[in-house]
């Protein structure tokens, strides 16, 4: 049997392939931060005393609050995926919204934290910092680079979540009515071949109803792949913070 020539040339959905690619991408992200972690390790060894002192100038409470925000957002992210798996769009959308909101709160916190540092003249290139020992200059250089790059990732993550949210929130509106003479279109739905024969033997109306349901499920399935991959990205952003927090705020 020949597959029908639809207008979309590459309609195959390969969930495993999408997952493989996402994990590979996350790996490249880890390596991107890996360069910074390497630099951190090198400079911490060069300047243990300066790093020790500089760490104490960061606010552990704001850092801890941000950690809590991101960890909670990862929880709501997982729950959002679970909700869509159960075809509960509404709940999935709400949880996704909460996730993005927590991400934004994280950034707001970060903004105040950075502003305070700027206020005290503790930023790369400032005249105040020039008077500090070398190790502290490098520490703040690392601090702003690492949290800055991480912040950019949070921002991108929020953007991705927003796009996916809009996608899921839109109701699948297409009600495909299939003329009885086009069994090939049905064949695209995978295992619906037998279903077609069943339906053709029975009533034409039955075909329509079954099709709408199936399409909803197929749409949800496609969206689920995207949601899961967005979730993976969000968890990565979370995991990187889990390492940044102790390295920059706690070890002293």
């Amino acid at each position: 049997m020949s597959t029908a020539t639809l207008h979309e040339p590459h309609v195959h959905v390969d969930a495993t392939g999408a997952k493989i690619a996402m994990w590979l991408f996350l790996f490249t992200e880890l390596l991107l931060f890996g360069g910074l972690f390497l630099a951190y390790a090198v400079f911490r060894t060069y300047y243990p005393a300066d790093f020790h002192y500089a760490t104490t100038t960061l606010s552990v409470s704001i850092g801890a609050l941000n950690t809590a925000l991101l960890l909670t957002s990862s929880l709501t992210m997982v729950l959002s995926v679970a909700a869509l798996e159960r075809l509960n769009r509404r709940l999935s959308v709400i949880l996704l919204g909460v996730t993005a909101l927590l991400g934004i709160l994280f950034l707001v916190n970060k903004y105040f934290e950075w502003s305070a540092k700027f206020h005290h003249g503790l930023y790369p290139g400032s005249q105040d910092l020039a008077l500090h020992p070398d190790g502290e200059k490098v520490f703040y250089g690392l601090y702003f680079t690492m949290t800055g790059l991480h912040g950019v990732h949070v921002l991108v993550g929020v953007g991705v979540l927003a796009v996916i949210l809009a996608m899921i929130a839109r109701r699948p509106r297409r009600t495909v009515s299939v003329p009885i003479a086009a069994p090939t279109a049905l064949a695209l739905q995978g295992d619906s071949g037998p279903l077609w024969h069943q339906a053709a033997d029975a009533q034409l109306d039955a075909v329509d109803v079954t099709l709408v349901y199936r399409e909803n499920e197929a749409v949800a399935h496609r969206q689920l792949i995207k949601l899961e991959n967005a979730g993976l990205y969000w968890h990565l952003v979370d995991v990187i913070w889990i390492f940044l927090f102790p390295l920059l705020y706690l070890i002293s």
Binding site: P9, H10, D14, T16, G17, I20, A21, L24, F25, F27, T28, E29, L31, L32, F33, G34, G35, L36, L38, A39, V42, F43, Y46, Y47, Y123, P124, G125, P133, D134, G135, K137, V138, G141, L142, F144, T145, L149
Partner: protein, 542 residues
Amino acid sequence: MSHSNADGGALPSYLEVSGRRTGILGWILSTDHKRIGILYMSLILGFFLVALCIGLLMRLELLLPGPTIVQPNTYNALFTLHGVIMIFLFIVPGIPAMFGNFFLPIQIGAKDVSFPRLNLASWWLYAIGAIMALLSLFTGGGVPDTGWTFYVPFSLRTGTNVPLAVLAVFVMGFSSILTGLNFITTIHRLRAPGMSWFRMPLFVWSLYATAWIQILATPILGITVLLVFLERLFGIGLFDPAKGGDPLLYQHLFWIYSHPAVYIMILPAMGVISEIFPTFAKQKIFGYKAIAFSSLAIAFVGYLVWGHHMFTSGISDTSRWIFSLLTFIVAVPSGIKVFNWVATLYKGAIEVPPPMLFALSFIFLFSIGGLTGFVVGALATDIHIHDTYFVVAHFHYVMFGGVGIAIFAALLYWFPKMFGRMFRYRPFFISWVFIFVGFNTLYFPMFIMGWLGMPRRYYDYMPEFQIWHQISTVGSWLLATGVFIFFIYFVKSLRAPRGAPDNPWGGTTLEWRVPSPPPAENFIEIPTVTAGPYDHHGEGDA
């Protein structure tokens, strides 16, 4: 292998099917892997010719001691530009982006790559990166003058437009990463029924190994150039000794990418050679698995040898001898490949049309490049010749004599398939003579000069080097003549009459079983594969 495309001529080719849009938009917005391959080809070969002309200018400047045609600062800009274009715009994307895109899906029996739209996005990122690189020439402080390595602290101090140039490198790196993950996913997920791992053509194996390096190494370059960018913008101080930073850290980070990057360049070239040899020797390739695994071995060990670029930078003795040892080890899988290619010829019915001629000269030139790699990889000799023309000669023998020549071979080998037209042999034979003679005249004197102590990147030289520089410059004219003959007839052949046979060379891999040029989705029906890739005599797997 079964093939059921007997009546494939009925389908319009990818050259005719432009998708929803027509004209130029039908190309630059096409998600067809073959069209994307051609898109890359037009840009990449264009940049190659530009950088070649810059190289000619450099050689012309060195014809006589003292100022000849340009000022010293301009010369610095020229060698930076030559390096940046040749490395980041030509040879790194090179074979995977042009031929990988075009032939990877066909060779494994797929209709396209796993993510066609991402593939198009990769091309756009490449194009945007290229535009940024061009902009960096005319904006800010003008053409960067740091050399393609952007070494700190000079790249932090120079007034030239380093920030935009490194950002361009970052964007092109992103393009390379996306291509890599697309290829890996495609190879894992879209192989045709029966196309087991050990029935994949060796070109696919080489792309697979390359894609892993692209994914694992390129992010390190990304963060490194990003740090240079931030350093220039905000002075974060990580590489600046005045602020407690460490310039040596830059060199480590840079070479953690940039050494594996030479394997990003050479591995696909080796893949091309592994395709061409069995076809023109009419033999199954000798040591299929050894070649496949040596690609992976090169990818793996090549990761751990970056320190050999820093033997004179002040790293510890322990790390120097470890890096030197690892460098010698990486030569083993390369040697395995060379011996297997030569063994493939043994008792073969060898034909030597132009693609095979270029492939044969690859062996010769690459071997010289590879063996001189031992001289620079050994600690004692490297101290003597570090940063001399010897390194320049070694690098060009491997990169131009290796990858460049393999690209010429691939262009000719796959020309009938890509464009559905045949070319006349004679102009390409003539161009080969100029290229081969010119190449050796240009680069071999550099080994001698380097050994005698001529430092690289110098604008001027002592009188005793003059004769070698002049021979070298004459060589550059010969080589450029050959390359121009090649491309003039390449373009002319694009207007040759249609009607190349589906399989003009007697190749056995899947691309030779689809029409020339291939139809839009390659196969009417996905083929079922029943034998290995180089089964010339119908022996099946063995």
